[in-house]
């Protein structure tokens, strides 16, 4: 396989992984309105858990002085299953602590803080998580049996397959009454409660579903790269994801996927390919700066994104006789990003 082909397969793989993260964040933020500024922490947990499930116990691994929890030496798919499960359990603990009757924006601040706390914790706790070095030497599935090119293609296919299954399940959920409940929660949590639905349960369901995608993405990531380090899980990563979801269209699966594609594959990869002669470390800074500008422009011009959310469709329209009236309504502009708005919120109490 030529270098170009390796590159293309790698692009497909990361495209699928980023797509997974985007639909996961969209489930939490786009659908249910949870401003999870610590999303990348969930991905990191999935990656770490898969990593330690795959490698052998410390001291028996030939990996020298690495320190880490676990080391089960499990094969695919058990290591990935463990990674996803660990992410969901972690997310469950997080929600049980942080979702205690907090307003959407308070929750956002709390999650930012928890995200930084975990990053500091991991960086400082060399004796548990091996500090900034993280873990290395995670074997990929079937890596020893396959030729290099076959393995790359397998991983690309595996990532695409997992993305497709995950997206299909999310698609079904978002069309069900549960999906309607997510959007209702995003609009007005107290109102959801006043309809006799437990908002905490709905919120947790959305959060855990998003965590499943995060766990899958992290797991795929570590199995492909073969290592895990804190450097890859900085808050800036969550930021690019938010930009992707908003650019593509929040609350819509294809929107999140499109946004992830445009931002990661076209913009970030494209600008890396341009080969601009810059000092090391400068290009990522310039890229993130531009992503920031993209995000501000989207918020200013089109907060609904490139592919705005659908209005829910029901079978058998009752109002077909009044065509002209309905057309007039259909022409009206869609309201901006959510109803979790200021004007009313500000005057409450």
């Amino acid at each position: 396989m030529s270098n170009v082909n390796y590159y293309l397969v790698t692009l497909v793989f990361f495209g699928a992984v980023n797509g997974l993260q985007a639909i996961g964040l969209d489930m939490q933020f786009g659908q249910a309105g949870i401003f999870n500024f610590a999303y990348i922490v969930l991905v990191a947990v999935g990656a770490y858990a898969t990593g330690i499930a795959s490698i052998h116990p410390a001291g028996h691994s030939g990996l020298g002085a690495l320190t880490y929890i676990g080391g089960f030496g499990w094969a695919f798919p058990w290591n990935m299953l463990f990674g996803v499960l660990a992410t969901v359990v972690f997310a469950f603990i997080l929600t049980s602590i942080a979702f205690r009757r907090l307003r959407h924006d308070y929750l956002a601040l709390t999650l930012v803080t928890i995200g930084s706390a975990l990053l500091l914790l991991i960086t400082n706790q060399v004796n548990i998580f091996n500090g900034e070095t993280g873990i290395v030497g995670v074997p990929g599935p079937w890596q020893s049996q396959l030729s290099s090119s076959a393995w790359y293609i397998t991983m690309g296919g595996l990532a695409l397959f997992i993305l497709a299954v995950n997206a299909y399940i999310f698609w079904r959920i978002q069309r069900a009454p549960l999906g309607r409940l997510f959007k209702a929660l995003r609009e007005d949590e107290i109102l959801v409660a006043s309809l006799g639905k437990n908002p905490a349960r709905v919120k947790m369901t959305a959060f855990l579903l998003g965590a499943v995608s995060a766990g899958l993405a992290g797991s795929l990531f570590v199995l492909f790269i073969g290592g895990w380090g804190v450097g890859g899980w900085q808050p800036g990563e969550t930021f690019v994801l938010f930009a992707a979801v908003l650019l593509g269209g929040r609350g819509r699966l294809t929107g999140a996927l499109l946004g992830a594609f445009v931002l990661y594959e076209v913009f970030l990869q494209g600008s890396s390919l341009l080969n601009i002669p810059l000092a090391p470390g400068i290009l990522p800074a310039v890229q993130q700066l531009f992503v920031g500008i993209v995000l501000l422009v989207v918020l200013w011009l089109r907060p609904a994104g490139l592919l705005p959310e659908h209005k829910e469709k029901f079978p058998g329209a009752a109002a077909t006789s009044r065509g002209s009236k309905r057309r007039r309504i259909a022409r009206q502009p869609r309201p901006a990003l959510g109803n979790m708005n200021s004007a009313k919120e500000l005057s409450v109490e």
């Binding site: 399940i169 009454p177 107290i190 829910e312 009752a318 009044r322």
Partner: protein, 265 residues
């Protein structure tokens, strides 16, 4: 009309309810009883604690002194969603709708014990079978409230009166036995007021217990079997509106706001 299915139960009993915010008392030692199927009104000037009282009864506030009973259940300190799922619902002073959802979706959200709200039935798609029933009911309610024309419009596009009607449709979708209405006529134009009045009459005809906070006396008189007057967090008088109007103590206590209203009538 589907609201006829509602059984005539839903008594509300409040005993010695008190609530304060950071040391400032908002409601103090309020007791009242709303028998099943009656229409009870609470009047009083702004800041007299009417809305806070409603917030406590409905479970928006969960920490307060005193006890609240709904039918035979002690619901003191119970959360809003639990109380609502028991069959006692509320509306808000500023009409609250899911603005970015269609009128029909707004009503469909409220369908009680809907299949497909759990994760597994949502994925399996088994909810589709029961969907048709909810949809028929939602559409008949929407039709009853003359909202069919705007069924697919976003809730944010409705007029003030339509918003109130949609709130009522959503309320009835849940088959309540008791409802707490917080100033249901706020933001409704005089033209639509008669329409809304008629719909509220049909609540009591259907046997639903109603506890309503409202400051327009003519509407209270028109609707309510019994009226409680609140001032400074207490109920200072109770009775039929026609009797209360004669009550000089009530009038003199509220020369400000009440006097104006009395003149307007």
């Amino acid at each position: 009309m589907s609201s006829n299915e509602v059984l005539p139960q839903g008594s509300i009993r409040v005993e010695n309810l008190s609530k304060s915010f950071g040391g400032v008392s908002a409601v103090s030692d309020v007791s009242l009883s709303v028998p099943a199927g009656t229409f009870y009104g609470i009047i009083g000037p702004n800041g007299s604690g009417k809305s806070t009282l409603l917030d406590c009864i409905s479970g928006v506030h969960t920490s307060y002194g005193g006890r609240v009973h709904f039918e035979d259940t002690d619901i003191s300190g119970m959360a809003l969603h639990k109380i609502a799922s028991l069959g006692m619902l509320r509306t808000f002073q500023v009409s609250r709708l899911f603005e970015n959802m269609s009128v029909l979706s707004n009503v469909m959200v409220a369908a009680p014990e809907q299949e497909g709200e759990g994760l597994f039935s949502a994925i399996s798609g088994s909810w589709r079978k029961s969907q048709a029933g909810h949809l028929t009911r939602a559409r008949s309610l929407i039709d009853h409230y003359e909202l069919t024309r705007v069924e697919e419009a976003y809730a944010s596009e409705l007029s003030g009166g339509q918003r109130r009607l949609l709130e009522l449709a959503r309320l009835l979708m849940m088959r309540p036995r008791a409802v707490l209405l917080d100033e249901p006529f706020a933001g409704v134009s005089p033209v639509n007021r008669a329409r809304l009045l008629k719909q509220l009459h049909s609540f009591s005809e259907a046997g639903i217990t109603v506890l309503m906070v409202e400051h327009r006396l003519e509407l209270v008189e028109e609707l309510c079997d019994k009226v409680g007057v609140m001032a400074e967090g207490k109920i200072i008088a109770e009775g039929a509106m026609s009797d209360l109007r004669q009550d000089r103590a009530v009038l003199s206590a509220y020369l400000g706001e009440f006097h104006k209203d009395a003149l307007r009538m």
